[in-house]
């Protein structure tokens, strides 16, 4: 599904990722953990194609294709989804209008017929219930005035509507109360299928209690320095990140 080899990338002239290797197979859930500033969000943004992040070396294959050669909208249409750590507020654009445009772009790319207003509303209603969101959110401008938890639910709503093949969730658990955390986890678990893959980027073990990862990776100083099963997450929770030495030969899987 996703194959990252020796990925080097940075922003504003500063190198942040320094040779990331990561293999994610279909049907798997991977957690990428690490201390603040280790490059977790950079990795997520690079995978989604943020124009501010410059890749200087390495390659990323997604379903056998060169992911880095695709513009961000094509990545999205091909099934890559990034749940933003800080979802962007878009004044004046109604959430429903945005969601319908996104769903139909993705559907058109997949050769599916575009949904009309009635069909879309039916789909939206179903997905709103899944993430426990009030329908009034759909007529409000995208993320504007949403609380932190509402913004995160809105990300999961978008994920549920777009049905990605590869979902990358950047700190989706941060700032959530326990109810919201369970709702978000339910949305993620719903996406868990043999033909999909999920990458959870997180600082804490908290979400992993609700979405059990198959593999856990530790990103420190722009490299994956340790990989293991879910026990590694528990160990990190108990001991912090300090005990992990950035080993030069460390690599994923």
């Amino acid at each position: 599904m996703l194959s990252i080899r020796n990925l080097w990338a940075g922003v504003e002239g500063k190198t942040i990722l320094k040779g990331v290797d990561l293999e994610v197979a279909a049907g798997e859930v991977h957690a990428v953990m690490g201390p603040n500033g280790s490059g977790k969000s950079t990795l997520a943004q690079v995978l989604a194609g943020h124009p501010g992040y410059i890749v200087t070396a390495g390659e990323v294959r997604y379903q056998g294709q060169d992911l880095l050669a695709m513009p961000p909208e094509v990545r999205a249409r091909e099934g890559v989804f990034l749940a933003f750590q800080y979802p962007v507020e878009i004044p004046g654009v109604a959430n429903a209008q945005f969601l319908k445009a996104a769903v139909n772009e993705v559907r058109a790319h997949r050769g599916q017929e575009e949904l009309d207003a009635v069909e879309f509303l039916a789909l939206l209603k179903e997905k709103l219930a899944l993430v426990d969101m009030d329908p009034s959110f759909t007529s409000r401008p995208v993320n504007e005035g949403f609380s932190g938890g509402e913004k995160k639910r809105n990300e999961i709503l978008q994920m549920a509507l777009l049905e990605p093949r590869l979902a990358i969730l950047d700190e989706t658990d941060s700032g959530l109360d326990i109810d919201a955390l369970i709702t978000v986890a339910r949305g993620i678990n719903r996406l868990r299928r043999p033909d999909n893959a999920i990458v959870l980027v997180t600082h804490y073990q908290r979400l992993l209690g609700h979405v059990e990862p198959d593999r856990v990776h530790v990103l420190v100083g722009g490299r994956i320095v340790r990989s293991g099963d879910r026990e590694l997450a528990h160990e990190l929770e108990a001991r912090g990140y300090e005990w992990i030495e950035p080993a030069p030969e460390a690599s994923a899987r």
């Binding site: 990545r75 999205a76 962007v88 878009i90 004044p91 654009v93 945005f98 996104a102 772009e105 401008p141």
Partner: protein, 482 residues
């Protein structure tokens, strides 16, 4: 006295004076008091001349394109309503169905249509009127409702306060809407006044004047649309006077759909009584040069006004939306939001003047001006002017110019939206804050559709002359069949 006008301006003033004398000789049917006002206004205009960049209120907007154009001043005033087939264009050959496509059709509205300054009975639909409203054309009301007309036009000091364009209108107006809403009547039916300039081969001028009076406790919605259906340069110089009684509420909308060669100057003057509320929104979608001025005098306590405007400009279009809000009484509120979307070499101006008179304590005034710049060649000028002569007031202003936000663009793309689609959404989103203030649902959705057409791909497309312009009956039916 120092000459205040350019050579071209002087020539233009002289031409207007000569044409006025000619016109006056034919306007013998008018009441003496009105002819006196017209003379006084014209004399004042002649001594004042056209505004120049030395006038604070006209610093960024030059009327040179207007003063250097020789209009057919006689044609604009000559004779009666043109007959069908008259090259001046007329109500007779304007197909009504195509007109409906070009302007918003408000269901059940009282619609008054003026073509080249003349009231068109055929295109208007006024009856049966709901109870509590008197409405009609100014030319008719001059004789049937003279007291209302006089109360507006002959108000002491009116000419002393008027600017040059308003004076020219006072001297030259031929027709417009007169509307009087009875105290306490809350009118559900919107009033739509449509001013059309139509005709080929002539450089037409029109000075519509409308008088809107809302009695105490009454409520109404008044929509003005301006449409120029001519490829020739044309000038509309409109004045709308509004008087709101105590507790009256008016929603006022102005939509400029003028063609690419059109010049439009429009002034709206409102006087507000105690606790009255004005909500006014002007949308400029076309025209070569537009200058709109909203003047509001908050004459009594707790009067409130919300003024907003949106200009969507491409090519070399220029739009100036200026305001003068005069807080003359305590505890009145004014809110202003003006936005422009600029592409190509377009230019927008916002002049926001707020005067707080001595004793107008508890004044609450806020204005904001935001401009979305879609190209390097555009220019947006913003000039707040706060003149505060009272204590205990809250007055502030904000201004921001910017481009499409890159983070928002990436967010939309990361959901599968292509560059054009994403930019279109964001540009429409910028406009939406103003459109949200349009409370009439049909008008709002019509404006939203119009904007979506104008802004597809996230660029402002050159204003096209509305299709109705070229629509001879044969061409119209051929088009419908294809």
């Amino acid at each position: 006295m120092t000459p205040r006008t350019s050579t071209a301006g002087r020539t233009a003033v002289a031409a207007w004076l000569a044409a006025f004398e000619d016109r006056d000789g034919r306007a013998t049917g008018e009441p003496a008091w009105l002819r006196e006002i017209r003379h006084a206004a014209m004399a004042r205009f002649a001594s004042m001349g056209w505004p120049t960049s030395r006038d604070e209120a006209w610093k960024y907007t030059s009327l040179a394109p207007i003063t250097s154009t020789s209009f057919d001043l006689d044609a604009a005033d000559a004779g009666d309503l043109p007959a069908a087939g008259d090259p001046r264009g007329d109500a007779g050959d304007l197909p009504e169905d195509r007109l409906d496509e070009a302007v918003v059709r408000l269901p059940a509205a009282i619609r008054l249509v003026f073509v080249n300054g003349r009231y068109s009975t055929r295109l208007s639909s006024v009856g049966p009127l709901p109870a509590g409203i008197r409405i009609g054309s100014l030319a008719g009301a001059l004789f049937t409702e003279p007291e209302i007309v006089r109360s507006f036009l002959a108000r002491p000091g009116a000419l002393d306060e008027a600017g040059a364009c308003s004076l020219l209108n006072a001297a030259w107006w031929r027709d417009g809407v007169v509307c009087d809403v009875t105290p306490g009547v809350r009118l559900e039916t919107p009033i739509h006044a449509l001013f059309i300039t139509a005709g080929a081969g002539r450089r037409l001028v029109d000075h519509p004047r409308s008088l809107i009076q809302l009695g105490p406790g009454s409520r109404a919605t008044f929509v003005e649309s301006a449409l120029a259906l001519t490829g020739e340069p044309s000038l509309t110089n409109a004045v709308t006077q509004i008087a709101l009684g105590a507790g009256a509420e008016l929603d006022h909308y102005a939509v400029g759909l003028t063609g690419p060669q059109a010049f439009r100057v429009a002034e709206t003057e409102t006087r507000q009584g105690e606790g009255s509320r004005l909500s006014s929104c002007a949308v400029v979608l076309g025209g070569s040069l537009t200058r709109r001025e909203m003047r509001v005098r908050l004459e009594a306590e707790t009067a409130a006004c919300t003024l907003s405007g949106l200009s969507v400009l491409g090519g070399r279009q220029h739009a100036d939306q200026s305001t003068v809000v005069d807080h003359a009484a305590p505890r009145a509120t004014s809110r202003q939001l003006f936005k422009a979307i600029l592409d190509g070499h377009a230019r927008s101006v916002f002049n926001g003047r707020v005067i707080v008179r001595p004793g107008a304590n508890g004044t609450d005034a806020y204005q904001t001006n935001k401009n979305l710049l879609l190209a390097d060649g555009v220019e947006a000028d913003s000039k707040p002017q706060l003149e505060i002569y009272a204590d205990d007031v809250k007055c502030s202003h904000g201004a921001a110019d910017g481009q499409v936000a890159e983070d928002a663009l990436f967010y939309l793309k990361s959901r599968g939206l292509g560059e054009d689609r994403a930019r279109t959404l964001l540009t429409l989103g910028f406009a939406q804050e103003v459109l949200d203030r349009v409370r009439h649902p049909e008008l709002r959705s019509w404006l939203e559709r119009r904007l979506a057409e104008r802004l597809h791909g996230g660029r402002v497309h050159e204003a096209e002359p509305p299709e109705v312009m070229a629509a001879t009956p044969a061409a119209a039916s051929a088009k419908e069949m294809s």
